[in-house]
């Protein structure tokens, strides 16, 4: 299996889908020169400027035009640079893309993919660091994808492009350089299936996006202390793999949700609430969430770090959950 970076894997997925289907095209600012993180480097050379298209600084038109182009049978992949800038295009995504199929009674599909890089990246401050995946999970009509590995970034971007629903595709900026094995097979992944990062019977840790790696590291060190954590990477938040989460917590009796986003009204609340509702009697400890405090993200590193969920915090949370039950 070749090793690729998360960034290269995403690029490969797009290129493969563009080769496969001439109706797939990408549009966003600076794409002709590779995009802001280089995720599109070389693609304009292969596919030409009409299919790897530059755009004016017009997020609302990038998104809105994608809605129209998708209704007309093409498959636009739109690039928002930072998910924060997608806040300039919320009407287009939420009032238009998400609702068109339904409110027109099924006359149309809107197969668009919005790439919205999320997350904290050293010293990018309040307007370039947000993780608002919970918002989109709340909106009927939208699919929400939050890949954490190169393999998933390839497989899930392909699935997103082939999906007939509008997909909010959130890559994590801090993962661009992460390398990992990517299967030769070019099959798209399945939306809505969690990945078992690590099996274990003492506690279920549910996470997604970059926080998965924090959880995996924590699980390693917990294993050293004799606590076996099962780590699940949700990979998609809508649909989210309720069955896998419930099955795991039924075995372990303990749930910890770990998210980078603000904890209050974050998607972790949905998971914690769902588990508490469904498995109350099976829980050996109260459900728990870890996430960011309800503060904007700072520029200065020590302040910025205050919003991060660290390996130590995950370890500590699991220890207290397992201790409480002992």
């Amino acid at each position: 299996m070749p090793r690729l970076s998360y960034l290269e894997a995403g690029k490969l997925a797009l290129a493969e889908e563009m080769r496969r289907d001439p109706l797939v095209w990408a549009v966003g600012e600076d794409l002709g020169r590779g995009g802001v993180f280089g995720q599109y480097r070389g693609l304009a050379e292969e596919f030409g400027p009409a299919r790897i298209s530059d755009a004016p600084i017009s997020e609302s038109c990038i998104m809105g035009a994608a809605v129209g182009a998708a209704m007309m049978g093409t498959r636009p992949v739109v690039e928002m640079r930072f998910s924060d800038f997608a806040l300039c295009a919320v009407d287009e995504l939420v009032n238009q893309a998400a609702k068109a199929r339904y409110m027109f009674g099924g006359q149309s599909h809107v197969p668009l993919v919005v790439r919205e890089p999320i997350g904290i990246w050293r010293s990018s401050a309040a307007q370039h660091s947000q993780s608002l995946e919970a918002w989109y999970a709340h909106i009927p009509g939208l699919v929400v994808v939050v890949p954490s590995t190169p393999a998933d970034n390839r497989a899930l971007l392909k699935a997103a492009i082939r999906c007939d629903d509008p997909v909010v595709y959130m890559e994590h900026k801090n993962l661009w350089a992460l390398e990992g094995e990517v299967p030769e097979a070019a099959e798209p992944g399945e939306l809505g299936k969690a990945r078992v990062v690590r099996a274990g019977g003492d506690v279920t840790i549910v996470s997604w996006s970059a926080a998965v790696h924090t959880c995996a590291a924590a699980a390693e060190s917990l294993a050293g202390a004799g606590i076996e954590a099962e780590v699940l990477d949700l990979r998609t938040l809508w649909p989210w793999d309720r069955e896998a989460v419930l099955a795991s917590v039924e075995r372990s009796g303990r749930l910890l949700v770990v998210q980078e986003a603000v904890s209050v009204a974050g998607f972790g609340a949905e998971i914690a609430a769902s588990v508490a509702e469904a498995l109350h009697g099976a829980l050996k400890a109260p459900v728990r969430r870890l996430g960011a405090p309800r503060i904007p993200i700072s520029y200065a590193p020590p302040l910025e770090d205050k919003v991060r969920v660290t390996e130590a915090m995950v370890v500590e949370a699991v220890r207290s959950m397992t201790a409480a039950a002992a």
Partner: protein
């Protein structure tokens, strides 16, 4: 305020304008029945009648192919019908009934008939502009020769998408005709009071889209202008048309429009596009009785549509969960 110069009637294409007259009468009658139905609480959501603006919809859409595309606004009945949608499924949609174009899920503000290239009314002012630009973008990408027409009101020119969508169309030289229906009002506000500068045409020109202005209550004038522009747009780049008109009713069917003087409205009724067209055809030799019959037939058609819509049942309740999305279970509500 009748159109300034009534053109020579001798070489008028009578067939064409008789058809246009009929279509305008149908739209007018549809709106009247819809208003009546709203008053009878048969139509429950807000409706925005296009009474007085029929010549714009008909004059523009008369120059489009079935495969051409239009996008409309909250005030979309006229555009929809002019593009070829049928009265009964439209009426059923307003009533929220089975067999409505959107299965009763959209109502007046989301009326659409994709089978005739009508890609939807929109509840968000100006939102259709970017969507229309994207539809035209798709036509260009696919190498097709279709045209997109995007209708919007004079109030929409103050929303961001007006700038972004026009610039997009200009940059990519897309086959799109923007039609601004300047009816003087945005809801209860005179648009002029909230608009800086010389208005829609000047703004379009500044964004590099050639613009022209037409008397929107004159079917012939709109038709001729639209024909020329649609020709330029097909396979070419974007154009902009301002149609000057007036909203003869309130903003919605429940708006008495007390914010404008009676005298103003009365004067504007003298420039009723249907009456203008009727006179034109009469002057061209079409018998008055024939024209009256067309109008009566239109009224009868729409009365029947209303009655039939009223007699139609509700959509199956399970449709509430259909067409949300392919992925995930939409029923998730409570555990």
């Amino acid at each position: 305020m009748p159109p300034a110069d009534t053109p020579p009637v001798s070489n008028l294409d009578v067939e064409r304008y008789r058809a246009g007259f009929r279509q305008m009468c149908r739209i007018r009658a549809f709106e009247e029945q819809a208003i009546a139905a709203a008053q009878e609480k048969l139509v429950l959501g807000a409706i925005h009648p296009s009474i007085g603006q029929e010549a714009v919809a008909v004059g523009v859409c008369g120059n489009l192919r079935k495969s051409d595309i239009i996008l409309s606004t909250h005030r979309g009945h006229g555009h929809t019908m002019a593009k070829g949608a049928e009265a009964l499924p439209m009426m059923r949609e307003l009533f929220g009934r089975d067999g409505g174009y959107c299965q009763g899920k959209g109502g007046s503000m989301h009326i659409a008939d994709f089978s005739v290239g009508m890609l939807g009314a929109n509840g968000v002012v100006g939102a259709n502009i970017n969507i229309a630009a994207g539809a035209a973008h798709a036509i260009r990408l696919k190498g097709e020769d279709g045209v997109v027409v995007c209708f919007f009101g004079d109030g929409a020119i103050n929303r961001g998408p007006f700038l972004e969508g026009l610039n997009w169309a200009g940059v990519f030289q897309l086959p799109i005709l923007f039609v601004c229906e300047d009816n003087g009002f945005a809801a209860t506000t005179r648009t002029s009071a909230m608009t800086s500068g010389a208005g829609p045409a000047a703004r379009a020109e500044a964004i590099g889209i050639p613009a022209s202005t037409v008397e929107g209550n004159d079917l012939q004038a709109v038709d001729e202008a639209a024909r020329e522009l649609v020709d330029l747009v097909r396979g070419g780049g974007p154009r902009f048309l301002v149609a000057r008109t007036y909203r003869l009713t309130g903003h919605t069917s429940s708006d008495a429009a007390g914010y404008r003087p009676q005298a103003e409205v009365q004067e504007r009724w003298l420039n009723d596009p249907i009456e203008n067209c009727r006179k034109l055809l009469e002057a061209a030799g079409v018998p008055a009785a024939e024209l009256a019959a067309i109008r009566e037939a239109a009224e009868a058609e729409m009365r029947a549509a209303k009655d039939e819509a009223a007699a139609t049942g509700w959509p199956a309740v399970e449709l509430a969960y259909a067409d949300v999305q392919d992925v995930g279970d939409p029923r998730t509500r409570a555990f």
